[in-house]
Symmetry: D2
Subunit: 383 residues, 4 copies
């Protein structure tokens, strides 16, 4: 009798947003069991969180250091096997480093670290330990984006010429951070978020989406970052011209002041033979537009899919909408499969398991550094 | 330290569709733990299912009778507390009856039973035992339908005049049942499905949706049921004129031969002061159309919601799509809350917990009987 | 040097709705020139209308009788050639009859007459005179519906099984007729509209659309007509089960009290091999759903069209939306081509010119009579 | 008895695209009559065009010079009053200049001229003559964009922060110009199109739309223009960062190689208090998103409109789609009204008549010059 993968969590106290999302994502497929956590710097909150999650109170730890050290002492068939890190950006690197160095696999929220330097350092540790490291770039978990990636990779659209990728939000249209709203508070604080708010938080999602779907690296950026809300210390909007390694051109823009927008990340890719479109708002559809042909709508779970990845990451028949949490869960499930494979002796190459890894984290941090630099210089910079 | 609600499952062997859906729904919110099951009449399959689900092999039972009797013998803090029934229609009544009579709460797939007579009998047992009984009419789990129900109840649309409710599918456009496809096989078999295929399987969803959202009972039906696929023994399409207790009129149609349709159940309701629209394909939007006003789009997690039920059944901020599995999970979660309340001494009235109960099952079976009768008579019948 | 077709108009005074639409439709393609009119029973209004339309005041006639008689006396190369009738229903038959009997072709608004008896009488006159008679069932002018008709006719969907056709409006949700609103006034008046308001005005559009697109006659109806607004003398809503000559079944519903709805006439047709969908709101798209294939979206002016009729009735490249007025204009243009052909010696068969003729009018009036009868009897009736 | 405005046309021979569009636009509202033309440099084609349009063959002129001079000799109540110019870009200036200098009002296709220098020269002539000059920036004719402009002007969105405007097309994804396709041929030819293909043809539409709707001037651009199709001499794609006079930022991109795209020009504007969205594909809807409010959908002809301009430029009740040709017709109709006003003694200020004038042409040509310069320099330039 095998058992679920046992997970500990760093961050995700009872009133956090993303911690709850990670727990749902871990729950959905019944592959992972949350067994312990260091949920908050506030011990009362950690205790309350553990209680709400039906955890053994002895496994609600005051600090991540404590969690890692104590869990290590537990019998192998009881102790946690993986650590999920869901803290603000400035608190990713230390727990990830310590977890890996103590033999625990890691699944970490994005952006991967506070700075590019940390990300590069972390990559070394991942490589050295050979453990599984997953980065929760959620959108790559959507089946229709996996299909899009496959279609482009296999030449359906021909050589790629143009990419438009957007992440519009409106939730920071006012200075929400002064109201005590927790999410706004740390994201707009340079000490916790890093050198960028909008580009770090959601620009990286857009960058990741573009590179994931096209399989191409961005090589040059010309960015115009803005802070529209008075008193805010970091950018809340950014428009970026992009150039890709193969000569393709594009536009990437992300915003937290696009009033009225929810989270409608979307992408359009055009090649010599056709184009495609996807948006989170209608995540179960992928629009394929081949030259001289009627538009086709591919659907999650529907007919005419070419990739194996799309159906493999789908749970229910077409027309029963899967969404954000299922996309997120695909990362957790595939991470769990990789960990299980590791336990069965597979080392060092987890690409076939289809989840974002440390290299995606490096790209994201590089992107943030370069768009900030470009915007300051008012000029194109190489990436 | 409290613990998750412990659940056993009847049906849902490894290759079943709806069993897996129930398990995901039970997993999502971390309120319920699957501890045992009688997954199949085939013991090998039951064993394999238990194994795939990381269950204790000793708790994979050959029959539901065995499961109920053996679990009852386990210590109270270990044994299952609720039974989930996910078998074909003809195998709902017996396990539900036995579970209830042995003190286990029940959550059951729809339609509630094989026949109206069984449903009425089951209602008596539920009443007598005072236990929690939930019926998984999934669509009532959608936040935007809870909002719709609330808006109508509180008079936003004025007196209701017209209802259009549809459930179009195309998956039985060919005689799939002869290919060995398991879902098609039993649904088209009068011995397992009952007197109707289309109306029993999805017509009941449409009927439930109409009565749930409007808060009105259908009182008369005039039905035209058809079997379009040669050799099929039950209806695969049905069109029904409906009349409601308050004088409202409407149309209900469901189909399994609407080629190309996925599962786009949808409803439109019109009253003296305005109308509303909802469809599963865009489940996170609710369109409100008040006379002499621009159309408004309410959104899951978005601004301007009036009900408490919609936000209470939402997990993530607006724009991160929730879907079918989350709607299903809302029923499981609310059922779990009711069971917990029962354990804390609340008896006999679980309406505030907001999930479909045995009365919805009775209405569904009555609807099936009456539309079959109406179609045979080619005439209106009272319901 | 040939010239435009010269047209006279009956009805369409300055504040009428549909008269202005007919004039725009006649103008668009530059094939027709309005030269005279009997626009109103009020001579002042007729004069003002002629003035606003830059007509010769001598050709603004007090009555249609006067117009027909006086124009007949003009030189052949000057006098009107066709008469457009845009009056309320009770004033269609007489001017149509007199125009035809005096050698003028006729284009007439729908429903064709006040009663079925009149329609049958009119058909005899059309046949006897051999002149061109067009009925402005606008929706058949949409290119994507012409494509739909062609695809069904040539077997793309296989044998047709199910049809859903709807015409929801909300403009009569209140008793607008008591406010002096002209359109509401006559449509709800049995003396001018006939035996039905909703079914006569828009139910006939739905019926026409279903028969046009499928090429099948409706043979049985079971209708439930209602008058929801107090004091109103005719129906303002109707739900109808329909059966077609080939065994197909369907639902037709039309409403003037579906609060918030504009004019979103729409149709879905399902056959053995696939289905299709069209709605006026997105009139330039036709959704094709073939079994086991991704959905395809055909577009006005776009690639992949099979019919000749669709491109022949399109003016601008794909993506420049054409709409209601262009659909209407297609009827006028094709009527003009038929008249020109008649002048060149083609008689008696104008089917190839692709516009609705007197037979569509007969079908519409028969439909109205039968749904009224069915609703009164509360039973199915043959049609 | 007044009469229609008499119009002559330069260009628009029988196989041209935009000439036919201008004629339809001029026809729709019955305000304008085409009386003569110099349709082509090929006299046979001019003759055939005149014939197809039922014109007097004596008024089919071999050259625009001939047309202007000969028409001037006709009696005042017979000769043309306005000239419509629908030739390629390099043939706008000369006929416009000559028409104006001979007392004829002008309506001209965009971009206004071949170069900025010509545009500036033309503005002087317009000013000097005091005649009416209209530029057919079609999209400003859409009622919902007039509403958008009004809402922004009256502060509904607060101070504007961000603008995203796009014009994606795919029709030049291959080297169509080598196939003899006329539209592709001249647009990709620097001698006839000017210094830009994509930016001149449709980038100017996007620029015009952004400045029209926001009422703000673009003051800086950073452009990345590309030629993706081998052998092509001008740009077929362009991505531009933009900055506005009030500090707003934005993105403008236009493309002729976005394979699969039709003509879906669209705009999104975000201010401190809310945002709005419009796209040509659904031109009769305007999405309004106010902070902390549900999204509202305003509709052509629908309730809740604030501007007078939207209803004034609408012909039919909500739900009967108007489209591109009606938007175009709004420019012609408003131009006709201005000409009639001129004839009634109003001079020099036609702003209230609501159509694009020479200043919009200057802005467009300036935009083209500056994006070409910016792209060459790989840097921001002031505009």
């Amino acid at each position: 009798m095998s058992s679920k993968i046992r997970m500990g969590m760093v961050g995700g106290g009872i009133d956090a947003f993303i911690g709850a999302v990670h727990r749902i994502a871990a729950n959905i497929d019944g592959q992972i069991e949350l067994v312990c956590g260091a949920f908050s710097s506030n011990p009362e909150k950690t205790k309350a969180t553990a209680d709400a999650l039906f955890l053994n109170p002895n496994r609600a730890y005051p600090t991540f250091q404590d969690m890692i050290l104590k869990e290590k002492l537990l019998p192998e068939n009881e102790r946690m096997q993986v650590v999920s890190i869901v803290t603000p950006n400035h608190l990713h690197f230390e727990p990830a480093k310590m977890a890996l160095e103590n033999g625990f696999h890691v699944i970490c929220d994005k952006p991967v670290t506070f700075s590019l330097a940390e990300a590069i350092e972390l990559e070394k540790i991942v490589t050295k330990t050979g453990l599984v490291f997953a980065l929760t770039h959620t959108y790559t978990g959507y089946p229709m984006l996996k299909e899009a990636k496959y279609l482009i990779k296999t030449g359906k659209l021909g050589k790629i010429r143009k990419v438009v990728v957007e992440y519009p939000q409106g939730w920071l249209s006012t200075n929400l951070e002064t109201s005590g709203q927790k999410q706004a508070d740390w994201r707009t604080d340079p000490k916790r978020a890093g050198i960028s708010c909008c580009m770090g938080d959601i620009g990286t999602h857009a960058e990741n989406l573009a590179e994931f779907v096209t399989g191409l690296h961005i090589t040059e950026v010309c960015a115009d970052l803005s802070t529209f809300v008075e008193g805010r210390l970091l950018d809340d909007d950014g428009n970026v011209l992009i150039r890709f390694e193969n000569g393709a051109k594009g536009v990437l823009h992300a915003s937290q002041i696009s009033a009225g927008e929810e989270n409608n990340i979307n992408i359009r890719v055009y090649g010599e033979k056709g184009g495609l479109q996807w948006q989170q708002k209608d995540n179960n559809s992928l629009t394929i537009m081949l030259l001289d042909n009627p538009v086709e709508i591919l659907r999650t779970g529907g007919p005419g899919l070419s990739s194996k990845a799309a159906p493999a990451n789908t749970r229910v028949p077409a027309g029963h909408p899967e969404g954000y949490l299922e996309a997120f869960a695909n990362i957790y499930r595939n991470f769990a499969f990789a960990v299980r494979a590791y336990n069965n002796g597979i080392k060092h190459d987890f690409d076939t398991f289809d989840f974002p890894q440390i290299d995606a984290g490096i790209r994201g941090m590089l992107f943030v550094e370069k768009v900030v630099e470009s915007s300051k210089k008012n000029a194109w910079v190489k990436m």
